[in-house]
Amino acid sequence: MKLFKKYIPLTIVFLFGIVSLASYYVPNKLSEDYLEVMNAWENIVSAFGFFLGLISLFYAHYMKIKKKVDGWGYSLFVYIGFLLMVVPAIISKGTQLNPDASLTWLGWAFRYLYNPLSATMFSILAFYIISTAYRSFRIKSLQAFVLFAAAFVLILGRIPVGQMIWDSILGFTKVTAGEAIDWIIGVPSTAGKRGIMIGVAIGAVVTSLKIIFGIERQYMGKD
């Protein structure tokens, strides 16, 4: 059993990992053809992954409803929402506009259900932000002050009325709000972001190499 559960998967990962890595740096017909096949396979596997995710989501919510855990009623809306979009999609064969530019069932569901619901969910964030900003954002340390100062400049610079306020209060400095924002984005923010990006990239390279060489095996499950 070890052959099928351990050695064959590890060999496949090693071979495809090395060849894929090499093909990125070797631009010739063979490597491009190879990448083309791999890309097609990736798409197929992604589709199956999506399908598995869907089953897993449905199962998890089915269990919540079955066991009547707290808030189980919300789980019903997973199925209702799914049906409200998928049934029209099947009826409309995936198209949102009819040839005469009128809306299909799917087009209607997208525009008048998904669109406002999705926008509403996101816009609720604004209410949480304003509540948190007022109740929790306390300038008690130098770091908090720096955070506030940066936010202050960015927020003011983002809106015309802010720029007018900036010009009337800080106009004597001869620095415009736009220039201040450019400096914040270009110097301290970029320095921090670059550090994070380098760290993430090194981490990704190390993890990938560990997977290719069989050191990291969590993707194979517990057995």
Binding site: E32, L35, E36, N39, A40, E42, N43, S46, A47, F50, T95, Q96, L97, A101, G107, F110, R111, Y114, N115, P116, S118, A119, M121, F122, A126, F127, I129, I130, S131, A133, Y134, R135, F137, R138, I139, F148, F152, L154, I155, L156, G157, R158, I159, P160, V161, G162, Q163, M164, T176, A177, G178, I181, D182, I185, G186, S189, T190, K193, R194, M197
Partner: protein, 271 residues
């Protein structure tokens, strides 16, 4: 007196919600009409890039946002498409977000007619694809190995504007309007690897994170949030929802700042 002011810190948050609602609603109903005075360098760079393209050039516009970020990003996409149409630049639209498909339909519902543009000759819309990295890498060798049909299931090669398009060599640039990290993929896998100029339009909150790409020229230009959209609309002299939307943000942004300052002053002086 002190106690009354201290009570303000524990104010029912529903009053704050009401304040925010009013601060957004009133400017929408009665616009302030404040002029957008500054235009950022990164927005101007995209405008200049588009202006520099010869007529008949083709660009890819990757529209990857769903309704949640549409208020900020839809005006950006509209302004870019308007500019392309004005300049007779052909546009290939694609998406990697399933929720974008309906918004793309909305985008092209009226615009082509306004500028006298025809589907298949001046623009095409490709269907949603999963797995962005595989797709955008593959587009370098052969576009039709990934996209055989357009979004309406028509043979892509049969469309007039696609006759001379095979891969990135036939594309002058990529503009990605997104509320996700998809722009990073375009930069890394297309801009850096194949030398295609990549530009972006992102939400205001993610704009700051693209500093490293802009500084190194990996990203040729960037439109940030609703203000960026308003700036682009100013440049192309086509005021739209970016310009009108910025009005609503004026008061809401100031309200956030005022509340932070107020709560901290109360903390400092009365606690």
């Amino acid at each position: 007196m002190k106690e009354t002011i201290q009570k303000l810190l524990k104010i029912d948050r529903r009053y704050l919600f009401l304040l925010l609602t009013l601060s957004i609603l009133i400017p929408i109903l009665k616009p302030l009409g404040l002029p957008n005075k500054s235009i950022s360098r990164d927005v101007k760079n995209i405008y200049n890039f588009m202006e520099g393209l010869p007529e008949g050039s083709t660009i890819i516009c990757s529209i990857d946002y769903d309704p949640s970020t549409a208020p900020e990003l839809h005006p950006q996409a509209t302004a870019i498409i308007k500019h392309a149409f004005k300049k007779n630049i052909k546009v290939i639209v694609l998406t990697f977000i399933p929720g974008s498909t309906g918004l793309i339909d909305q985008l092209f519902e009226k615009l082509p007619a306004e500028y006298g543009k025809k589907y298949g000759e001046d623009y095409v819309v490709l269907p949603y694809m999963a797995n962005i990295v595989a797709v955008i890498t593959q587009l370098n060798s052969n576009l039709y190995s990934i996209y055989e049909k357009d979004k309406d299931n028509k043979d892509l090669k049969s469309l007039p504007m696609m006759k001379k398009i095979n891969n990135y060599k036939d594309i002058k640039g990529v503009i990605n309007i997104t509320g996700t990290a998809i722009l990073d993929y375009w930069v890394a896998y297309v801009g850096d690897k194949f030398g295609v100029p990549v530009m972006g339009g992102v939400t205001a909150i993610s704009q700051v994170g693209y500093g490293p790409y802009l500084q190194k020229g990996q990203l040729k230009g960037l439109i940030g949030g609703m203000k960026g959209a308003a700036e682009y609309e100013t440049l192309i002299k086509e005021p739209g929802k970016g310009t009108s939307g910025i009005d609503a943000l004026n008061v809401a942004h100031l309200l956030v700042l005022a509340l932070i300052i107020m709560s901290n002053l109360i903390m400092f002086f009365f606690k």
